[in-house]
Amino acid sequence: MKYVIIGNSAAAIGGVEGIRRVDPEGEIILISKEPYATYSRPLISYFLAGQVDARHMAYRPASFYRDTGVTALLGREAARVDTEASRVILADGEAVSYDRLLIATGGVPFVPPIEGADAGGVTTFTTWDDAKALKRLAPSLKKVVILGGGLIGVKAMEGLQAHGIDITVVELMDRILGLVLDKTASGILEKKLVQEGVTLRKGTTIRKIVPGGDGKVREVLLENGESLEADHLIIAIGVRPNLRVAADTPIACGRGILVDDAMRTNVPHVYAAGDVAEATELLSGEKRVIPILPNAYRQGKIAGMAMAGQESAYLGGLVMNSVEVGGIPAISAGLMNPPEEAGYEVKRFLDKKNNVYRKMVLKDDRLIGFILIGAVDRAGIYTGLIRERIDVGPFKRRLLESDFGVIDFPRDLRSYKLSTVYM
Amino acid sequence: MRISAKGLHYRTLNEKIHHLVDSGAKSLHVTHVNGQRYIGGGLQGDIRLTLEGVPGNDLAAFMDGPRIRVKGNAQDGVANTMNAGEVIIDGNAGDVLGYGMRGGRVFIRGSVGYRVGIHMKSFEKQVPVMVVGGSARDFLGEYQAGGIILVLGLGLAPGEPIAGYMVGTGMHGGVMYVRGKVEDWQIGREVKIFELDEADYKTMRPHLRAFARAFRLDLDEIMAEPFLKMIPYSKRPYGRIYAY
């Protein structure tokens, strides 16, 4: 059996590890546009900040490809897939045939059509190369504007803060991290950011980028009429599935490549996983792209195992994020901003003084979302409750307690948890 | 089915009853009963026994379900530790009636002896009920821990007390209703006499109705006389006598 994997991040590595769990022999060829051995994409902000050196960027040990028997084609871009002939055509024209193919091409940053966006000093922040470039520039930068107060923007901001740069974050929503937190939670973090000297511009976006004489950005104009001086602009609005290799193929796509619960596309022997894939979302049961690392890895692993002949069902992805802003940890998952309509039960605990906030969203005595700010220590228990759709009715009054734990589960569930192993 | 107990030792009689019940008998009429002990002892199931004569001690001991009608008087120890079922006695009954009884009911048309309802107890849905038509002697409801004891004082001789001395001594659960007069000095220190409220009448009524039906009495006439109620002060009568 010959496996081909396009991509080299969490989903791809999950794929390798999934295949190897079932099939220790089959040939695996991994194709990656980037020239690096697999590295941790989320670490780029830590790299930028200087907290992590190049050596520690590795997602897997240096011996990984050797240990797993992977032929890694690094720095070589896959151009398209020929599903008819079961082969991948590389940008350099070479064709790599496959028995099973995993598309794990991840996402590409989305750059909106803003006037002047082609100016110098306007970059995105999703790859190690992005981080390397920015890190080189950092000593010379004074004022940086980040467009987007979401996860990528916040990460970029953190990376840059270490360099003592004036940062302004421009966010269209009324709060930062709007998609993963609620107003109260964001408020706690924003307050901290402001204390640390970050400038926030919310409820607006960039109308125009004004380059200076050197062709590099000098100023950005906001929709609200304000003008911000900037010697660098990072566009961090989000990523979109990188569907390039699927273009002009029969592989069905929505926002991403559509896959079933074994990560199969509609084309036989072709699988997709990670940020490129549009798979089942746990709570709604609908297909969605959820570009987060844990999902990517798991999808990759499921795909890998399925490719090698052992199918295990994907229970669905769950939106969840862990982020730290100004030293305040924040973890959220599921549906944290339920619609106003009836049927949702929301429980909150707020300790402003200590920057502690807990919010639980329930529906029909099932936990469907939560936010933890400050004290995040046992967040996974809540994630587990959501994931396993456990009836929290018997103990929901304990959910917000600081010492909430497995002990609060009903006895049967508790003993089940203690006497068995997860998955 | 009719069987005669004449001249039978209790072991023979009871083995006969067991045998008949084991082979499916649901209703037995035993004549010439006189003094045979343990009739209905440990018997389980939906069985009816009619006894003519005076059954011996420990009638219906440990019984769990059957219904017994005694056409005559009964001796001591009726319904000892009985769990469920019914004993209806047309005449009088002796001492230690319903000792440790946990469920079912016992109706006595006439009077009863000493220590009746001793250590009667209730548990979950099991609430034993005892209705005495006539009077009861000393130590009625001693250690009573649950259940309902009703004493009606029907047909007492003039001046004959409805209950003796030390009524409810050691009582720590359940309730006693007495249709007549009981003085404070007659009762144990753990109980207190109260007036009845609506709930009490509601509690008593179905049992009295069944009692009246069993003996063809007029319920209204029974209900017409005033009752008084005795209940314990606390579930812990001896909670404070120790030096910890």
Binding site: R41, L293, P294, V376, T420, V421 | -
Partner: protein, 148 residues
């Protein structure tokens, strides 16, 4: 693989498991020195959960499909062998708390005493029996292979 299982019905809530865990992960491995002389001292990697009369000691279950490994962005969470314990490489950890976010047992703690890293049970890797099990006075923790 051999794992630690807790029997809550006989957990006395004494927390000796936590205490001996600290000792096992201390520098000196001497209980009195570990507590009275080592600062900062390691966090216990087993935690007694207690509510009312209930209690049990909880630590990493060393899942077959560990969500923490899946979620770990640095590769700090790892297994050396398919049936080995889930281990944590403090050197690689950056304290992103993704593992905390996904551990359904809440068995990973933030250790910020020296460097911001996750802290979890390593089954006293290399020892015959984890310290918590060895010192549980009531056998409320057992170390056994239940074929899972």
């Amino acid at each position: 693989m051999k794992r630690v299982y807790a029997k809550e019905e006989v957990c006395a809530g004494c927390r000796l498991c936590e205490i001996w865990c600290v000792v096992a992960h201390s520098k000196t491995k001497d209980i009195i020195k570990a507590f009275n002389e080592e600062f900062p001292r390691p966090l216990p990697r087993v935690q007694v959960e207690e509510f009312g009369s209930f209690s049990f000691a909880l630590q990493c279950r060393h899942c077959n499909e560990p969500p923490c490994i899946e979620a770990c962005m640095t590769g700090a969470m790892h297994r050396e062998a398919p049936d080995g314990p889930v281990l944590h490489d403090a050197d690689k950890c950056v304290g992103c708390w993704m593992c905390i976010m996904v551990c359904p047992y809440g068995a990973i703690a933030r250790d910020e005493t020296l460097k911001k890293i996750a802290s979890k049970c390593d089954l006293c890797y290399g020892e015959e029996e984890p310290a918590c099990v060895a010192h549980c006075p009531n056998e409320a923790l057992v170390f056994e292979d239940r074929g899972e």
